[in-house]
């Protein structure tokens, strides 16, 4: 989504009614953010909307990016936000070999998740139960769900996007594209200069 360097377009203030709606939508999509939402988007502070190329809207607070949205799709968290609150999102993990492809903007492929180093929901090797959906991180995730992708041997996530294939199906077919184009470390959204 942000393979090219982007320059931020017009910035405008978000009306407080719209701000409330965004907050509600974010919580609906990411209920585990509830305990932190007030420190992420304080009710009394002003959110800004920055227009980005290809009809992407980026919401920022004091020039710090929080969430972005392509047209009317789901709100997706900026990776810096994911790094601050990692367990509040549905997470999967790719193997080490897939990292360099994801970081160069290639589509995330299913084998990167189904291989030994990858993690899908309810994986026996995932002792802490951190990968997958639901409270315990065991639930399968359906196509269309926003996910955060972590990487084998790394602490911080490297990708945010929307699943193109459900995790149950991935385990069966073990090939194909796993995610729609999203936001990865080092992409145009990551390097965006918000001043």
């Amino acid at each position: 989504m942000f393979k090219k360097d982007a320059t931020p377009g017009a910035k405008s203030k978000v009306k407080s009614s719209a701000q409330r709606a965004i907050r509600a939508k974010v919580l609906e999509e990411y209920p585990k953010l509830e305990p932190y939402i007030e420190e992420i988007m304080p009710k009394k502070e002003q959110l800004d909307l920055v227009k980005l190329p290809d009809r992407v809207s980026l919401y920022t607070l004091n020039n710090h990016p929080l969430f972005f949205q392509h047209m009317d799709d789901s709100f997706l968290p900026h990776l810096t936000l994911v790094h601050k609150y990692p367990s509040c999102f549905n997470r999967l993990r790719i193997d080490r070999g897939a990292i360099r492809f994801v970081l160069s903007g290639a589509t995330l492929m299913v084998p990167g998740l189904t291989s030994a180093g990858g993690r899908l929901p309810d994986d026996d090797e995932d002792e802490e139960g951190i990968y997958g959906g639901g409270e315990d991180g065991m639930e399968e995730l359906e196509a269309g769900t926003p996910v955060v992708i972590e990487a084998e041997g790394k602490e911080n996530a490297c990708f945010v996007g929307v699943l193109k294939m459900g995790t149950e199906e991935m385990k069966k077919v073990r090939k194909g594209q796993a995610c729609e184009a999203g936001h990865y470390l080092g992409d145009g959204l990551w390097t965006l200069n918000l001043g």
């Binding site: 305990p35 080490r96 990292i99 360099r100 951190i130 911080n156 990551w190």
Partner: protein, 191 residues
């Protein structure tokens, strides 16, 4: 690197970002500036450096890849490093050989405009510079395309010397020798 699993109270997690490539340092190895990144980390976060660049860590990273994948990875990172180095060398050369041209153009008898070309070779954002000129000199300043590619800034008024001073003051990276002031009296038609 054990996962600090989501015990609340520790949030927001503090994450260090590399001062060279901007990624979390554990991802520096995938960029083209690993050497610089490593030096930066060693200087600013020696503990994290020891952890990430230990022999053990490197071996562990390698062991999780098949031999063939490892070869591919090596090749890829060498390529990336070479690419980054050559891009930087090119940019440097371009900067050394490029010229900014400030041209005084006579519009009507005593009316002048000043055109400035070649700023892009020094990595300057032409639109922004044009805006700054307008503010600084309180005059009209616009960006126009020039034939043969590229863009120039046109400023209303005879401001060659002021612009020269302004550029050298504001952008110390631009050597003064690389800026040229010329006059263009195109109204002088052969009688």
């Amino acid at each position: 690197m054990a996962e600090a699993s989501g015990s609340s109270g520790t949030y927001p997690k503090k994450v260090v970002y590399c001062g060279v490539c901007s990624l979390p340092p554990e991802y520096c190895e995938f960029g083209g500036t690993v050497k610089k990144c490593e030096d930066w980390l060693k200087e600013h976060y020696p503990k994290m450096h020891a952890l990430l660049y230990s022999q053990e860590a490197i071996e562990q990273n390698m062991s999780s890849l098949s031999l063939e994948a490892q070869k591919r990875a090596d090749k890829d990172s060498q390529k990336k490093a070479a690419k980054a180095a050559s891009a930087e060398a090119k940019a440097q050369e371009l900067r050394a050989t490029s010229k900014i041209m400030i041209k005084r153009i006579e519009r009507n008898k005593r009316k002048y405009v000043t055109a400035v070309q070649g700023l892009e070779a020094f990595g300057l954002d032409i639109k922004k510079v044009a805006k700054d000129f307008g503010k600084k000199f309180a005059t009209g300043s616009s960006v126009t395309k020039i034939p043969g590619g590229g863009e120039e800034i046109t400023v209303q008024g005879d401001l060659s010397d002021d612009i020269l001073d302004y550029i050298t003051d504001t952008y110390p990276d631009v050597p003064e020798d690389n800026i040229e002031c010329i006059e263009d009296k195109k109204k002088k038609v052969a009688a």
